[in-house]
């Protein structure tokens, strides 16, 4: 199938303004005749729902948590990029565009990314007007910092809680629309299917998580703002409830899933302490500005560290391997996330890891403390050091921190065109749930930017183009399509409850995570991926014959919720493996061992792989079809990344 990205004609910097003029508008008096469903209330969902309400549409918004304010956007620490150039250091819309395209290793669309950079400046204005307390300088103006190796200071922040403050801003705008009666908020209600009528998205099926009631909701358009799928790895920095179910069920109704294998592994997380581990905690990567990463030079020393005979501080300077500084003299400890992560894995695979599990490297602040004093380090990173000590029980001022990479963000997601509409008419995907702007690797402080860009400044324009061409007629939830979908959802739930096997949902989830991390994690190869596919298929079979779910549907049943999500993660995992197999190049977060330079760095193959992989569901147990959208670069020159 030919995919039409609908990128407008014309020069890059004029595409968005021309497009805004060319899209059809809905008359203000007619907006109230249209209903929109928004699933998810993170930055993208809350900002979209609020903006739709302000424009006059009727909105039904859904979240599985007890309040829209809990969405996992809240946990973002670092900041939000915007091309304001307040620091007079040479930033511009084009530079932010260029950095984002390059950072994504040339696997995203020029048109989308340029628009993102353009609207980035409006986001900051909007958030300040809402009362978001960004960090300020003594003169009262907004402060910026440089983030993730950017050459300019364009990151706006609110201490280490930028995501929280931005989400509470969007939540406040959403709350205002709830009070105005324009948005009806459905909390603790999870989307379990998409309803299609005449080839268009016309509603969703949900489960009320308190009563178990299966409900139908109809609308003229459906927006999925349901976040990423990092929890396919079981352990990730995502919230426990983050899941792929809404997006996956939409995929099974026809929406294409794009670049699912593109996942970002963050290098600075607190390592796993044992089998009981339920999630991983990110430590802001700003720590690498002052911390030095190392492991012992010899396996023997590492072994002694692991069994407690040696402490980090016992190892003399000449027995340490500061491997990032050694291999990348110009970038040192500040190499991009994917490079730092892969190198940590490499030294641990060599047997030089430093905690009980052998999966950790040191991040050492001793030199920084000696140079700047403990007070300076405390002022910069105090809250992170406290958090580390709280979780690990070790004092990082005295002992080097231990860190290890963890799954953090998924660049892949539902395929969308320039209007953020999936290939299913009337179905939109925004924020981390879509694939659109980060290519094969996301830059730091760009996720918040994209979520809010989509929700505040892109979708409110583009959705009107579709709705203005739709009839006002509402579809009754008595329509056959709703009844069929409800019946399917109920059948699936009953199936899960009736298996009554011997293995718990968490056990399956851990097994899945193990397969994905081992073979489809930081580095991937043909043989491993083949093995993983076979193992996942076996796991799926086992799941549907041996999973144990307690209780009934008609109550709050957290095991049932988890089971339904893990079932979808297993299917997604298989598709990720297919995608990783197809893309036999290395790019961004996707490292194929077969495709590396003589020095062991990632090697892109632009002639063969300058495309977006959009996977099409063909029915149960049938291989998915790969549709390719070719990427065209007219404004940037493709180069190989080098950090030597």
């Amino acid at each position: 199938m030919k995919l039409d990205s609908k990128i407008p004609e014309g020069p890059l910097s004029e595409k968005w303004s021309k497009h805004k003029f060319n899209v059809k508008l809905v008359n203000p008096a007619n907006k109230r005749k249209y209903d929109i469903i928004v699933v998810g209330t993170g930055l993208a969902g809350a900002s979209a729902a609020a903006s739709f309400g302000e424009l006059g549409y009727n909105v039904n918004a859904f979240c599985f948590q007890d309040s829209p304010r809990r969405a996992h956007s809240i946990a973002a620490q670092g900041g939000i990029n915007a091309a304001k150039n307040y620091q007079n250091d040479g930033d511009s819309v084009f530079r932010l565009f260029y950095d984002t395209i390059k950072g994504g290793d040339y696997r995203s669309r020029e048109g989308n990314v340029h628009r993102l950079a353009e609207v980035s400046v409006n986001i900051i204005d909007q958030c300040v007007a809402q009362g978001v307390p960004f960090a300020r300088e003594y003169g009262g103006l907004l402060d910026n910092r440089s983030f993730g190796g950017a050459q300019v200071s364009r990151t706006f922040y609110a201490r280490g809680q930028t995501g929280q403050q931005l989400l509470l801003g969007a939540y406040s705008a959403l709350s205002r629309q709830v009070a105005n009666g324009k948005v009806k908020m459905h909390t603790r209600e999870e989307m379990l299917d998409l309803v299609m009528i005449d080839g268009k998205a016309r509603g969703i099926i949900t489960r009320n998580l308190i009563t178990g009631k299966i409900e139908s909701h109809s609308a003229h358009a459906v927006v999925l703002a349901t976040g990423g799928y990092g929890n396919v790895f079981y352990l990730s920095t995502n919230a426990m409830g983050s899941n792929v179910t809404a997006a996956w069920r939409a995929h099974k109704k026809g929406a294409f899933m794009a670049n699912p294998c593109f996942t970002q592994i963050h290098p600075t997380c607190i390592p796993v302490s044992g089998d009981h581990q339920s999630k991983l905690t990110l430590m802001s990567e700003s720590l690498r500005n002052d911390g030095r990463v190392w492991v012992p030079k010899t396996k023997e020393d590492a072994e002694k560290v692991r069994n407690g005979q040696l402490k980090a501080t016992d190892i003399p300077e000449d027995a340490r391997d500061y491997y990032l500084e050694r291999k990348y003299p110009s970038f040192g400890n500040l190499v991009p996330r994917d490079v730092a992560s892969r190198n940590a894995k490499e030294v641990c695979d060599e047997g030089r890891g430093v905690n009980k599990t052998g999966l950790a490297v040191y991040l050492d602040f001793a030199d920084a403390i000696k140079r700047d004093g403990e007070d300076t380090i405390k002022a910069k990173y105090g809250n992170l050091f406290d958090m580390y000590e709280q979780i690990t029980g070790e004092n990082p001022y005295k002992m080097p921190m231990k860190i290890y990479p963890a799954v953090h963000y998924t660049m892949g997601g539902l395929w969308v065109d320039y209007n953020l509409m999936t290939n299913v008419p009337g179905l939109y995907a925004i924020g981390e749930a879509n694939f659109s702007d980060h290519g094969a690797n996301r830059l730091g402080a760009s996720a918040l930017m994209q979520g809010l860009a989509d929700g505040y400044f892109v979708l409110p324009y583009t959705i009107g183009d579709y709705l203005s061409q739709e009839a006002y007629d509402k579809v009754s939830t008595d329509h056959e399509a709703f009844k069929t979908a409800e019946a399917e959802v109920k059948e699936k739930i009953n199936k899960l409850l009736s298996i009554n096997g011997t293995k718990t949902v968490d056990e399956f989830h851990k097994d899945l995570g193990h397969i994905m991390w081992e073979y489809c994690g930081m580095s991937r190869n043909e043989e491993g991926l083949k093995k993983a596919k076979a193992e996942i298929q076996k796991l799926k079979e086992d799941f549907w014959s041996n999973v144990k779910v307690i209780g009934s549907n008609e109550e709050l049943n957290q095991s049932l919720e988890k089971a339904s999500r893990v079932a979808d993660f297993i299917e997604l995992g298989e598709l990720m493996i297919d995608d990783a197999q197809d893309r036999s190049e290395s790019c961004g977060g996707h490292f194929r061992e077969e495709s590396q330079t003589p020095e062991g760095e990632a090697k892109r193959k632009d002639d063969e792989f300058s495309y977006v992989s959009a996977w099409q569901y063909n029915g149960p147990e049938k291989p998915e079809t790969l549709n390719k959208e070719d990427l065209v670069f007219e404004n940037v020159k493709l180069t190989q990344r080098s950090y030597k």
């Binding site: 007007a129 809402q130 960090a135 509470l168 979780i391 400044f457 144990k548």
Partner: protein
């Protein structure tokens, strides 16, 4: 470690509920408090028993969803969220009592899960600046003194978990409500609706059935984010000022 857990079990909102005791061996002190519950729940499922339901999501102390009342303290012995509490804060052989938040305005849904939608409704009554998307001034048009911005930020770090209500003998929500009123009262953007906001949010707070404040300060002492009592003083001032002024619109 060996731990004895006394946990509140309640099948649903209309069930009376009671404590049940569970013995756990082999708990690692590196586990978080919620991971201990994960392990217990795995065990219960294997024994065909209904797992203990509790709210949790981010498990990094910021979403505000986790809410356990542990040994008489919301979120337990440390001034942090339940998810950031680790077993090394307890001793081998300890008996730990775990209850849901207890407050009329937070009805129990099941086991340790409560309904905090009253907080959302308080926010809907005025916890915002009424600006639509677009058409706002440039972000640097209005300078804000760093001290004011920092203080507003401190108030804005509230995670809406409800520990303040659970800690208060009157189940008052003053700390939660005042944190938002304060944040917006301090910032220039919040000035236009300053008076109506204080009035409306306080009215909604009362409507939801939260108790009165007697300034014992338990809320702030137990708040995982250390939201200061100053906010309550400020809200009282805001409220009085609004009520007393003739230009009250």
């Amino acid at each position: 470690m060996k731990i004895k857990l006394k946990v509140w079990r309640q099948k649903n909102a209309s069930d009376k509920g009671n404590f049940k005791t569970y013995d756990l061996d082999d708990i690692s002190e590196d586990m978080s408090f919620l991971e201990m519950f994960d392990i217990l729940n795995e065990d219960l499922v294997k024994k065909n028993e209904d797992p203990i339901h509790f709210d949790h999501d981010c498990r990094e102390g910021i979403c505000g969803m986790c809410s356990m009342y542990i040994n008489g303290h919301p979120h337990g012995p440390k001034q942090t969220t339940t998810c950031q509490l680790h077993m090394r804060s307890f001793k081998d052989g300890d008996t730990i009592t775990v209850e849901p938040w207890r407050a009329k305005s937070f009805p129990v849904v099941k086991d340790l899960v409560v309904d905090r939608s009253s907080f959302d409704r308080v926010m809907q009554s005025g916890g915002y600046v009424s600006v639509n998307t677009g058409g706002v001034p440039d972000a640097n048009e209005i300078p804000i003194p760093k001290k004011i911005a920092d203080e507003a930020f401190d108030a804005a770090t509230c995670i809406g978990c409800g520990a303040c209500v659970a800690a208060c003998k009157n189940a008052s929500a003053m700390l939660f409500v005042s944190a938002k009123v304060s944040q917006l009262a301090m910032l220039p953007q919040g000035q236009v609706e300053r008076k109506s906001r204080a009035e409306n949010m306080v009215a909604q707070m009362d409507e939801e059935g939260f108790g009165a404040c007697t300034n014992t300060g338990a809320c702030s002492a137990e708040c995982p984010k250390g939201i200061s009592l100053e906010n309550i003083a400020r809200m009282n001032r805001e409220y009085l000022g609004a009520k007393a002024s003739s230009d009250n619109l």
